[in-house]
């Protein structure tokens, strides 16, 4: 599974954080295999939570987290809340294995607030997964 959050700014200045969840299919690992890292195989998109309609928005920062599809939800939730404590970001791009997870953080913002942004993006993913952000409907879904 890949969980991604990215802070975007639209051409008209709208700001927000869009969150995406992909699945890889059944996979168990101690360390994320290279072939399941996002640049090689992000998996299949199954859910998205959009604050700004995507398409040509500028990306200010992003967070990618790869985890086994079977990982228990409480474990993922705790990892998301713990990430800013675990990972001290000092550069605008960081990649790290946090077994069985893999984490990548990229940002163009002021280095003094990178840590806050890391926590914020992880927070947006947690808020999404726990139902505290509105999910974008799947294509073809009808409102009721």
């Amino acid at each position: 599974m890949l969980l991604t959050a990215q802070r975007v700014v639209s051409p008209r200045g709208a700001r927000g954080v869009n969150v995406y969840q992909y699945v890889h299919g059944s996979s168990v690992w101690t360390r994320v295999p290279d072939e399941l890292l996002p640049d090689t195989n992000p998996g299949e998109l199954v859910r998205q939570w959009l604050e700004v309609p995507p398409g040509e928005n500028r990306i200010v920062s992003y967070l990618d987290i790869v985890a086994p599809d079977e990982v228990a939800a409480p474990d993922v939730h705790q990892r998301l809340a713990s990430l800013k404590h675990y990972l001290q970001v000092t550069s605008t791009r960081t990649e790290v294995y946090w077994d069985p997870l893999w984490v990548r953080f990229g940002s163009a913002i002021d280095s003094r607030i990178l840590q806050t942004e890391l926590g914020a993006l992880a927070g947006h993913i947690l808020l999404s997964l726990t139902g505290h952000r509105a999910e974008a409907p799947a294509p073809g879904a009808r409102g009721g």
Binding site: V60, Q78, A81, G119, G123
Partner: protein, 140 residues
Amino acid sequence: MTTPVREELARRISDALSGRPVRWAQNVLGDYDGRERTLEIFNADAAEQRELFRSLRPIRKEMEAVAGGPVIVIFHTRAESARLYSDFVERALLAEVTLDVDTAARILDVEVPPLGTDIALHPRSGAPGTGSSELPRKAA
């Protein structure tokens, strides 16, 4: 010891434990010496507890001073935390991240050179294989 002081200490203990939910014990069964000095730590699996206990050493004296004596620690595993205390745990984790979410939204200067642009994708609709299989971004 005042409630705000106890709560502030619990928050700092949570920080020392990588954001694990923490609270002063409530509704603990039985009467024992130190009941009011009992601290519950959640999402702490057995294999992690020794290391977590070690993380408390730097603030142990302060914990004792605020609590009024030695602090009794109760660890709850992830499974038990989810089974018995899911409401509290979720609330605590959300509180942990919401501060950063709000702070970043307030102070972030987004007028920076972009890392790239995003692209519109479509999530799976029904059968596996119908969702996008690319990242939602392209490099600048």
